[in-house]
């Protein structure tokens, strides 16, 4: 099971890296905002799935934190794009993220109990690592607007915190 998720995480990382690389030269702020919003929305959806399926208190606490924190970032992101009069623009990276997230949600829907908890926690580790990489190497350096860049930097700190928390959670579920 662990190998399956590690492989899945590697595929996502490659997909994002590939898509981001292909677009590196032309990612604009509207696209970057879309990717960041999508990345948050994916983790909110995963958290809501965990809240519906898990009975483990530590998993539920973590999922609540994911939903709460990522919703806060996305509310801020929406307010920012409105203020800047920017319409977030769909792009290949967002689509790759969404496609993979949909596959994960479908796959985890078939799991229950400890198997679900473990899969959710391990994927949260992998997912946060992947998004951290994209933020550090592509999104933050690519952002032109200072406020957007600042929000992405806050997002990176948050994702790193969540990654540590997810690692701790995954370790307790082994």
């Amino acid at each position: 099971m662990t190998r399956l998720f590690a492989t899945a995480a590697a595929v996502v990382a490659l997909t994002i890296a590939g898509a981001a690389h292909a677009q590196a030269a032309k990612l604009n702020d509207a696209q970057i905002a879309h990717i960041a919003y999508t990345a948050d929305a994916i983790d909110i959806a995963a958290g809501k799935q965990a809240l519906a399926k898990s009975k483990n208190k530590a998993v539920l606490d973590f999922a609540n934190e994911m939903v709460r924190d990522h919703t806060a970032v996305n509310d801020k992101a929406l307010a920012l794009v409105k203020k800047l009069n920017v319409t977030p623009q769909d792009n290949a990276t967002s689509q790759a993220l969404s496609k993979d997230a949909k596959a994960k949600l479908d796959s985890y829907a078939k799991l229950s109990g400890k198997a679900f908890d473990k899969a959710y926690a391990e994927n949260e580790v992998a997912y946060h690592k992947t998004v951290n990489g994209a933020l550090e190497t592509q999104l933050i350096p690519g952002a032109q607007n200072a406020e957007l860049k600042g929000l992405l930097q806050t997002g990176l700190k948050l994702f790193k915190e969540h990654e540590m928390h997810a690692e701790h959670l995954a370790a307790t579920l082994k």
Partner: protein, 112 residues
């Protein structure tokens, strides 16, 4: 200069009398120290906090945080944008974290 023991006692008595005349056993006024939570970090902590003072946790971040210390006997939730006062009732050096984001750490020193 040598002062006889009896003289020392007199001097001490005079000093005490003078002290009580100047400040009739008034403890230092209680202070409120603001600690800002921002960008998933705790801001600077006061160096001179004493029992009776108050820490006000000011959350300038987007996220729910907490100031939590088992040793310090406190666990305060601070919502985004909230200002939460916490009276200091216990002297000591207390390491604390945000229980939601445990990478956020601080150390609070409270004098008696």
């Amino acid at each position: 200069m040598r002062v006889p023991r009896r003289g020392l006692a007199l001097l001490a008595g005079a000093a005490l009398a003078a002290a009580s005349a100047c400040s009739p056993a008034t403890p230092p006024a209680a202070k409120t120290y603001h600690v800002i939570l921002k960008d998933l970090m705790f801001g600077p902590l006061p160096a001179q906090a004493r029992v009776g003072d108050t820490i006000e946790w000011d959350n300038d971040d987007l996220f729910l945080h907490s100031a939590t210390s088992a040793a310090g006997g406190f666990d305060v939730d601070v919502k985004a944008g909230a200002h939460v006062p916490m009276p200091l009732t216990r002297a000591g050096t207390f390491d604390f974290i945000c229980k939601y984001h445990p990478g956020m750490k601080g150390r609070l020193v409270v004098s008696p």
